[in-house]
């Protein structure tokens, strides 16, 4: 299955790849535009999305994804969970939420939870 990871920082992308790469096909992108391009091209099973990104905001990308590809599960990553962010995320019904920095265990658990919810496990 493809997991699209969207984050402007390379180290985060590499960490995700390192953790998830054994079990999944990880597609890392650094911008929302690149993400949209990939989504248009390929079939993606899960998106790991950084909320705070320069340029095209993570939130607007999230909204767009939910509009155009509602069947794709989304996990939102963030430097810090503010009340507003949590509220927004729950309103747009993102699958789940993990806070940076996370450990590999936390990441895997989040992915597993989502997969279970989506019935993909």
């Amino acid at each position: 299955m493809n997991i699209l990871v969207v984050d402007d920082e390379n180290i985060v992308l590499e960490s995700c790849k390192r953790v998830l790469g054994d079990s999944f096909e990880v597609v890392p992108v650094t911008s929302a535009d690149a993400a949209l391009e990939v989504l248009g091209r390929e079939t993606v099973g899960l998106i790991l999305l950084d909320i705070k990104m320069p340029g095209k905001d993570g939130m607007s990308l999230l909204k767009e994804v939910k509009e155009r590809w509602p069947h794709i599960a989304v996990i939102v990553m963030s430097g810090y969970a503010t009340n507003e962010t949590v509220e927004l995320v729950s309103r747009t019904e993102a699958a789940t939420f993990i806070a940076k920095p996370f450990t590999p265990v936390e990441l895997l658990e989040a992915v597993a939870k989502v997969m279970e919810k989506e019935g993909k496990l």
Binding site: I11, E14, K52, G79, T82, P101, T103, P104, L107
Partner: protein, 641 residues
Amino acid sequence: MFYSFRSKIIASFLGVTFLVGLVSLLFGGHLLTKSVLGEARNRVAQDLNAAREMYDNRIKMIEVALNITTLGYGFIVTLRDRDTSDLVSRLGRMAQHAGLDFAGITDEKGQPICRIGTHSIPGKKAQPPNPIVTRALEKKALASGTVLLSEGYLAQENPQLAERARVDVISAPGTSPLTEKTVTAGLCLSAAVPVLHEGQILGVLYGGILLNRDEKIVDTVRGTVFRNEEYKGRSIGRATIFLKDVRVATNVPAQDGGRAIGTRVAEDVREHVLEKGERWTKQAMVITDWYITAYEPIKDISDKIVGILGMGVLEEKYVDLRWRTLASFVLITLAGMALATLLGCFLAGKIINPVHRLIRASQQVTEGSLTPDIGPVSSGEMAVLQKTFKEMVAAMGRRRAESQDRLVLSERQASVGRLAAGVAHEINNPLTGVLTYTHMLLRRKDLKEEVRSDLQTIVEATERVRKIVKGLLDFSRQTKPDRERVDVNRLISGTMALMENQALLKGVGMVFKPGHDLRMVDMDRNQFQSVMLNILINALDATKPGDSITVSTANSAVRNEADQQGIEISIADTGCGIPPEHLNKLFDPFFTTKEVGHGTGLGLSVTLGIVQRHGGTIQVTSEVGKGSTFTIWVPLEGRVK
């Protein structure tokens, strides 16, 4: 703005002066008019009296003249002997001395014997007798008075008299139709005295003056009464004798310059004086000028009204007097108004100048100065105002300094917060990397024990970094309290329940003394819970086995700056206490006395932030070795912004 105040003062002064002047002018003017004209009228009435006196005196003079003559040496004899030439010469002398127009002697029956100027009377048909003579014969005593003598009689005495008596009546347009066109009778002053000898009347001596066209009497009256007083080149007084309603003797000037003989008296005068026999005073236009006039009837010996005696005073003098006085009033008022203006200017200046200075000073304060120039100190209320102004500026300065301090502090805190947030966010990404890879390394099975343990150290260190970052972000978070009505006692007991186990394990007693009837408070439940936890954890850290922590709540009697009511929560421990030098740094971010590895130093600063955002305060008292007490005061409701 200054000019309108000045002009208002001046306007009010002017207004008052003007009103006062106007009122006194009107009132005084009215009084003046009344009194001046009243005086003039009184004067004229008195003058009329005087004229009357003089008129009657003239008659008396005639009487005296007659009497003297009868007492003359040998008069009786002459009369008895009918020595007409002697009689005539005596009569002539008498007439000359007394200024008589006619004089004569009659016999005991009233028949004329002789007259002045004629030795004997030609035997003409009998003329009507002189009523005075008739009266004297009747009374057998002196008779005198005013008498209307016919043209015939006058001609008889002296044809010139009849001529003189003739007066053409001039009627002013608009007056009632004439009764006569010409006056022919003569108004005369006359007297007659019967000459007695041994009880028998020998004859009657008589004499008189024709008033028609007489100038002496009226001029004498004027001369005496008015003393020939003149006003603007004209005499102020006039005297007139009317035969019926026609002027026959007067010094009222006619339009052509002579005397106004023949003119008639006004309707109302005629009615009141001639017909009703009253005295009458009025303001009248006589020929060309306004006079104050007075009239009284002239009666003959039968008490019939035969004429009018009139006096007039030129009104002009009095009228002028009145205008002059009013003019003085006006001048005084104007002078008063000018003075009022000056005074107003002066007063306004005295008030405005300090006010103006204060306004400038206020402007200086607005521009930022704290030492404005308010000018020299005045007296009275102005001085109080200046003093109050200075105090106000000083208080302003103090408060500004205070708020600036507070501003600096909160700005510092805010900028620290922003910095912290920024740093934290930046750190999180590489930190993710470090954590991930370290964990992945740890998973490997082929690690030597030292390598594994070194890696473990790295992991622990990284975990700590994560906690610091989280704490930092907690500190920087400026979330508005999400308020709801909270039963604080319940919240606290719930929080303490969370701590129960830890306390028990440590051997520290936890006591809760909830306040009775504790008011509900609008607060963010979660935030306050973290406040309580923070302070309780600190208290627990400060205590050792056997110590205790007591939490109590109560309604507070104290009010905050915004005059709000609130509650007090106090957490008292019997732990090690806080040294005085740490007390003021207690709430600073990153201040911690804990050993390296324990505590981030952010807890209390976050706690204080939460309490302050609710509008409350935290106070700490502590004694080393005895313990510490944290007292939180929080208002019942959120501050109305």
